[in-house]
Amino acid sequence: MRSTVVRSTFDRSVPVWIATAVTLVLLMILPLGWLGWVSVSSEQGATLANYVQVFGDPHLQKALWNTIVLAFWVGTASLAVGVPMAWLTGRTDLPGKRVIRALIMASFVTPPFLGAFAWVMLAGPNAGLLNKIYRGLTGSDDPLMNIFTMPGLIFVVALYSFPYVYIMIVNTLELIASDLEEAGAILGASRLRVALTITLPLAFPAILSGFILAVLQALALFGSPAILALPAGFHTITTQIWSFFQYPPKVEQAAAFSIPLLLATALLLQLQKRLLGRRGYAGVGGKTGARRPIPLGRWRWVALAGVFAVLACTIVLPYAVLAKAAFAKAWAQPLSWDNLTLANFTFTFFEYSATRDAVINTLELGIMTATVGAVMAALLAYVTNRRLVPGHQALGFLAVAPVVIPGVVLAVGLFIAYTRPPLVLYGTLAILFVAYLTKELPVGYAQADTTFKGVHPELEEAGRILGAGRLRVLREITAPLAKSGIIATWCFVFIGVIRELSASIILFTPATKVISVVIFDLKEEGQFAAISVLGLFMLAMTFGIVLLMQTALGRDFLGAKD
């Protein structure tokens, strides 16, 4: 015998996979387990009293109902805006598509609570700039719009939810070959008829799932309702859960009130998954042949005006009013030389002591979460893509499972789980880290998964068979090929972390504030100028990262190659 049988070397990586699995279980099972348990616990043992109390209270029923109304209309409004925009940019000869895509991307990364805050300055019924202009023009006593109402809230939330619909649909439209549409046209259907009878039905699963994504956004959002609904005297589930933490805290009721939100999210995601099939995008099939843009004729400029009207509402106006407030002595006063100042910046960055710590905390958490998250996501995606361990499907499922947990609910679970021994993480950055990691893992995993799907396994096998070991192949072949995708993963997680509010608001302590929490604190005080300064800072940071990501990917991250 020249050589003996050699055991496979791959056993030694098994502990790594096991550790990853255990971590996932800890991130998910512990908080959710405690959440469920506390929701049915009382001093006398297990009980349904918390549920009875929570769902029997007419005030809380109203919050529940408000949330349903909000979510439904946000979904509908997002469709009304997102579908035509996707069709116009994906299918027609609309001019300025690059700019439009860039602006939609900007809406996508704008923290919704900043948008909501900006819209307070734009459309507060009396002091709002747009209402002032409207009154000046028409002489009317009534405002053009009152942002502190349910329709106002729906409007603002939809402005930052429609990109979800847009992305779903644009990516689906790319898969629908022009032939299918031209087959309709040759049979005599008009352009509109083709869009309505062929394109629309083909894109229907994507449309419905875009609707569900927007609904989920609206369900889980905390910042916008806190800024717009509370002044108007109504609650949504998330703001209600948050106010359960006022002293003396009613954690059991918060837990009981979280469960329906959790179930609704899980149910909707299940539905969405079924709609899209296993692959995660519409199975439209057909070759993705060359696509000929549909000429809009004289409607071109009308359509363009419409698109820019929407983007003005999501980007141009809010950013402008934030900039104005940041540089003005009084935001509601007209912009003039006397009203200009840099004092807000000086105060925010040099005098207000919370800022410095919050910026450091946010960066620290952002970098830590993004790094650990990207590594974990990459590892998980690699394991599941290469089927390295038995039960790899379960790992993939666990990695995306946190998507069903709204930030507020996750925070309640983490709060309960980690304010008691053996792991008292509350009061440290660690609990925020755990929250962010859990919350961002699905996004990171999805990105990493796409990355590894793009690295053909044969590329690794070719290295193996030529004599390179598994780890060497990982280092010399897989890693360089996956690098840009993993950098993008890092950026996605980082952006998600620095804008996170709904979990942070429950988990922070005075020593562990992050920028979003400081902004919220300042909001409670009505410090518009300082909020605007911090808001601009946050946006600058976000767009810096987006640029980095685009450079890494060589394309915009909405998915289309430009």
Binding site: M1, R2, S3, V5, V6, R7, S8, T9, F10, H456, E458, L459, E461, A462, G463, R464, I465, L466, G467, A468, G469, R470, I477, P480, L481
Partner: protein, 356 residues
């Protein structure tokens, strides 16, 4: 140069056997094609040999080394093999020279200069000298293919594995590459397993063909053996076009179906047994073009359909007194029309009985 022995190899995916108790012997310096339709287990077999998969049963031996068994597997990097993939699997982040030289880096004691020399030599062999600094994305499909070949050959593997290497090329290039691969095999003499679903490719390239059917070897032999003497209905049907007549043995050397009686190539049939008979269309002649020899089967029939194929004409002939329709290939010079009555001559040697 060792050979490869696969012994009772089995691999299941979710309860379905992809490879089922497969046994095959590849002699040293031999090129064996694994041929079969998709899902027959040929790629799984190749990946078992490469060590990417662990068999549930059976063993793989190369020379006197047992590389795979149900309990232990030598990892791919220690098998001294090379493989050419369907996707070529060229690394897009490495240049042509880096791609080709990759495997040489694991040769202990090989100097860098030596390595570079071997790489450029090999590139010359595949006619890619001067392309060292290019990246794979800057090459045509055929050039990429040749880089893949060079990368596999430069390491002088004991065993070379090819997984449908030509399926991504267009028809002309594919035919050219068949000869190229055969030429390289004759030059280097590496024991080779070649997976393909294309019978012509298998016939041109290989010393022997192993036809795979549902995870098992249906028949192994030279191209001629497989074509002339298919051993199963599956092989006969899969390799080339054929007429299959389901009949019953009447005597040890003849079968009947309805009013049709055929003398066949063997004399050991058990009367009363069910027998399928394979008759290649080009072995059937029309009586007015070829005089039959004594003992030939002579049948009358009527032309049903005529298809002109350029280098031949394909006829469908209804055989008188039976439900059998035979396809006959004839030279284009002969022009028969649908409805014409004809007589067919079939030598018994062309009627190959297949065990049911």
């Amino acid at each position: 140069m060792p050979g490869v022995t696969l012994r009772g190899l089995s691999k299941r995916y979710g309860g379905v056997a992809a490879v089922d108790n497969l046994t095959l012997e590849v002699k040293p310096r031999e090129l064996v094609a694994l041929l079969g339709p998709s899902g027959c287990g040929k790629t799984t077999t190749l990946r078992l040999v490469a060590g990417f998969l662990t068999p549930e049963a059976g063993e793989i031996w190369v020379g006197d080394r047992c590389l795979s068994s149900a309990t232990a597997v030598v990892p791919p990097e220690r098998r001294r093999m090379a493989m050419i993939f369907q996707s070529y699997a060229l690394w897009p982040h490495l240049t042509v020279a880096q791609n080709v030289g990759y495997g040489l880096r694991f040769r202990r004691g090989m100097a860098r200069a030596d390595r570079d020399r071997r790489v450029s030599e090999m590139l010359r062999v595949v006619q890619l000298d001067g392309f060292e600094a290019r990246y794979p994305s800057q090459l045509s499909g055929g050039q990429q293919q040749r880089v893949a070949v060079a990368r596999a050959l430069v390491v002088e593997p004991e065993i070379l594995l090819l997984d449908e290497p030509l399926s991504n090329l267009d028809a002309n290039l594919r035919e050219e590459m068949r000869f190229e691969i055969r030429r390289l095999h004759e030059t280097f003499g590496i024991t080779t397993l070649y997976v393909t679903h294309d019978q012509a490719e298998a016939m041109v390239i290989s010393d022997r063909i192993a036809v795979l059917d549902r995870g098992r070897v249906a028949q192994v032999g030279s191209a001629e053996e497989i074509f002339q003497q298919p051993r199963t209905r599956f092989v006969a049907d899969f390799i080339g076009r054929t007429n299959l007549v389901d009949a019953v043995a009447a005597t040890p050397d003849a079968v009947t179906r309805g009013g049709l009686r055929l003398h066949v190539a063997t004399a050991d049939l058990r009367p009363g047994a069910r027998v399928s008979v394979s008759i290649r269309p080009h072995e059937i002649a029309f009586a007015n073009t070829a005089d039959g020899r004594a003992g030939d089967n002579v049948l009358s029939g009527r032309i049903r359909r005529v298809s002109y194929l350029g280098d031949a004409v394909d006829y469908q002939v209804e055989i008188e007194g039976s439900d059998v329709i035979l396809r006959v290939a004839a030279a284009p010079a002969l022009r028969l029309r649908p409805g014409e009555t004809v007589r067919l001559v079939i030598p018994p040697s062309a009627c190959v009985p297949l065990p049911e």
